[in-house]
Structure formats: C-alpha cells, structure tokens
C-alpha cells in the first residue's frame, strides 16, 4: 500500500507541474488565481499523503489543515479585492455615461 501512496504522491506532483502551465500562461489574472488555488488543494493532498508515507501522519495532517485554511483565505481575499477594484471602475464609468 505504501507503494500505491508513493505513486499517488508522484502523480499529484505531476499534476501540480501541468497545472503550473496555467499559472505561467493563463491569459487573465483570474486564470492564474484559479490555477494557484488548484495547486493549493493539490498541496493539501500531497501533505496528507507524505504524512502517511513516512508513517508520521499526525503532524503532517495538522500542516494540511493549516494549509487548507490559508489557501481558502488567500483566494477569497484576492478575489474580493479584485471585485472591489472592478466595482469601483464600473461605478466611475457609469457615472460619466449618464
């Protein structure tokens, strides 16, 4: 079973590598942010798997919980900031039109 989990961890690392293409190339800022969030979720899984592979799951699972919380807060904060920015410019554009 350890071999299966190690293979899965390698597979998830590969998925992180191909997801990173979207971070580098992604045409818009939102694409990049989406890919960063996806990589964060992969990292949570990778941390849990590493904990089980090295047979020390307790500490690594704490790290995984922390990483999941930080990932969520980071993505929501940046998305809300971008939303605020675009609402401001939309209000300014609407004001000059009318």
């Amino acid at each position: 079973m350890i071999q299966v989990l190690t293979g899965l961890a390698a597979f998830i690392s590969l998925l992180i590598a191909i997801t990173f293409y979207r971070v580098l190339v992604g045409p818009t800022l939102y694409d990049r942010l989406l890919a960063v969030g996806a990589i964060g979720t992969y990292a949570v899984l990778l941390l849990a798997l590493i904990g089980f592979i090295y047979e020390r799951p307790s500490g690594f699972l704490d790290l995984a919980i922390t990483y999941a919380i930080l990932n969520f807060v980071g993505v929501v904060a940046i998305a809300k900031y971008l939303d605020l920015d675009s609402q401001k410019s939309a209000d300014a554009a609407g004001g000059t039109e009318e």
Partner: protein, 133 residues
C-alpha cells in the same frame, strides 16, 4: 494487504482519476468560466475521494478525525473560493467563450450585463446590487 487497504484502493484510484480530469480541464478548456467549472467540481470530488480512501487505509483512530475535518473543510471551502473568484470575474466583465458556429452571439458580462438587466426589469434595484446575487 489487509481488508481495509483493499477498501481504500478503489477510493484512491477514483480520486486520482478525477484529479487528472480536473487538471486536463484546466489546461484544455477554452475560457475562464469553463476552467472554473472543471476545477470547482472535479477537483473537489477527487480530493474528497482520496482523503476518504486515506481514512479507510489508516483505520478509525485519532488521525482519521483530522482527516474527516480536512474532508469537511475542503468540501465547503473549495467550491466557495472558486465561486467568489468566478463572481469577481463576471462582474469585471471577462469574455465568455461562444461556440464559433454561433456567430454573432454574445454573452454580456460586467457593466454591460448590469445595464441590460436594469433595462429589462425597469427599475434601478439591480444596478444598486451590481446585477449579480
């Protein structure tokens, strides 16, 4: 392999499959909204399946409680985060991909969408709320 590990194996393999589908969707789909759809659903399901597989693999001890905590947290927060991001993109007026066979068809987003919604409903309440709930 013990019985619990044989139970865990299909969960882990199915989770790996869904994660692969999600990564392919993120690379291959044509615009932001369809990519968000790939990540928001497929990746959440794949993560949940792998974590549940790990719960079965480890047996039901203290660490499984932490794993179930991660399962609940990922199931709530991953779609929520992507929903927030997608709403920000919609309000900013990001282009929506349209099938090339539907020439001339356009999907209105951002300030244009707010204006058209205010026209059709005839009052200003939609504009005040930005058009998107």
């Amino acid at each position: 392999m013990t019985l619990l590990e044989w139970i865990a194996l299909p969960f882990v393999v199915a989770g790996a499959f869904f994660l692969f589908v999600s990564a392919v969707g993120l690379i291959r789909l044509p615009d932001f909204f369809s990519r968000a759809h790939a990540v928001g659903k497929s990746e959440t399901l794949g993560s949940l399946l792998i974590l549940i597989g790990l719960v079965f693999h480890h047996g039901f001890v203290f660490e499984s409680g932490k794993l179930i905590l991660i399962v609940i947290f990922v199931a709530i927060t991953n779609p929520t985060g992507i929903h927030t991001l997608t709403r920000a993109a919609l309000r900013a007026g990001l282009d929506v991909w349209v099938d090339p066979r539907d020439r001339g068809m356009r999907v209105r987003t951002g300030p244009e969408m707010n204006a058209s919604m205010a026209e059709t409903s005839g009052d200003e309440s939609h504009r005040e709320q930005g058009g998107v709930r």
